[in-house]
Amino acid sequence: MWTWFHKLASPPHFYRLAKALSPWFLVPGLALIAYGTFTGLFIAPPDYQQGDAYRIIYVHVPSAYLSQMAYTVMAIAGGIGLIWRMKLSHAVAAAVAPLGAWFTFLSLATGSIWGRPMWGTWWEWGDPRMMSQLILLFLYLGYMALRASIDDTAKADKASAVLALVGVINLVIVRYSVEWWSSLHQGQTILAEGGPAIDAEMLYPLLANILGFALVFGSLLLRRVRTEVLYRERRTRWVREMILSPQGQT
């Protein structure tokens, strides 16, 4: 088992594997998003309270989930890198941060656009859910700034991994903010106690979009890690040989 794991984590092997795997994430992902978005926009019934405005859920919830998932990946990869000194895991952490930041931005922006017609406000300072999600964005930006400010890659890896692990606390706060405190934001829908609090016709396109976004995210991440590996290994022999070989892989 461990030999398999070490082979996967070896940079040249991962470099080839990531390229081969990426379309297997991207194509089904885009297909699911096409189904989920079309069904969510045009087939699913309107909501009894919010009418058609609730359809923003089909992009808001997947981006919010991914903003959390990306951070989890970043923190776990950072932790593995710190403890086991695995090179690949630091590359994963470095590659996932900008994706996480983009999805966090997207969740904040779509939430804001949804809040205007429904709640009557674009943004409320002091709301625990909104503030903790904004802090998540700042954590991502701080993480990327910290990496960019340290020239030595090994040092940057360690320092940023510590920051990522410290910030895990905020993930817990985002998740439970609507339960621990009063908030303008409603509670969990899909993970509500006693099953999803949403009609099946509305739920299936939402699940399709969540899975679709996750697969597309996976494809983007595979390719970003691949680039990061290439950059980090730029002075190694396997990279030189790959570039000079006649059938040279890009």
């Binding site: 019934p45 309107p46 909501d47 009894y48 309270q49 919010q50 405005a53 609730y54 859920i57 932790g79 710190l82 403890i83 086991w84 000194r85 017609p117 429904m118 709640w119 009557g120 406000t121 409320e124 002091g126 709301d127 625990p128 510590v162 692990l165 410290v166 895990v168 606390i169 706060i173 621990w180 405190w181 009063s182 908030s183 303008l184 409603q186 509670g187 969990q188 829908t189 509500a192 609090a197 949403i198 009609d199 016709e201 509305m202």
Partner: protein, 157 residues
């Protein structure tokens, strides 16, 4: 101890310490993190006097009164135990209606009426088609639950 185990221990201890520190901080700031104050607490006099604050609750059924020839509206808000009269002048969010969750930002006047500068609407985590909601509303259990909610007593202490 191997160096790897030492690193594991260091990371673990740092995380545990951080978790405890955060838990304590959150406990200390519990009240400040609340986005709004419950009606019962307002009725009991637990609210900041010197500044605007937010209250949250449900708009009481049949309590909405509109002043003729103005945008002023009066209604009562409940947390299912205590009620508070609210007055507001301005545009209301689309979701504002009787039985709906609302957040009002403002302060109490001398007659214990909450004068709101802004009204925000809250919605719950349930999503359903209008027909389903209608069916549910007719359901006897729903009515029983509503009745039970209405009988809870307001005991501001």
């Amino acid at each position: 101890m191997k160096p790897r185990q030492q690193r594991m221990l260091a990371v673990g201890l740092a995380l545990a310490g951080l978790a405890i520190a955060t838990a304590l901080t959150l406990r200390a700031f519990q009240d400040n993190m609340m986005f709004f104050i419950d009606i019962s607490d307002v009725v009991a006099g637990e609210y900041p006097e010197a500044r605007n604050f937010r209250i949250g609750g449900l708009v009481v059924d049949d309590s909405i009164e509109r002043e003729p020839d103005s945008l002023e509206i009066r209604f009562r808000v409940t947390d299912t135990r205590c009620e508070l009269p609210v007055s507001y002048t301005g545009v209301l969010p689309d979701l504002f209606r009787e039985g709906q969750g609302v957040v009002a930002i403002g302060r109490l006047d001398d007659s214990e009426t909450f004068v709101a500068d802004r009204i925000l609407a809250k919605h719950d985590e349930n999503y359903m088609a209008p027909e389903v909601a209608e069916m549910l509303a007719k359901h006897a259990e729903g009515k029983a639950a509503m009745a039970a909610r209405g009988t809870a007593e307001c005991n501001p202490t």
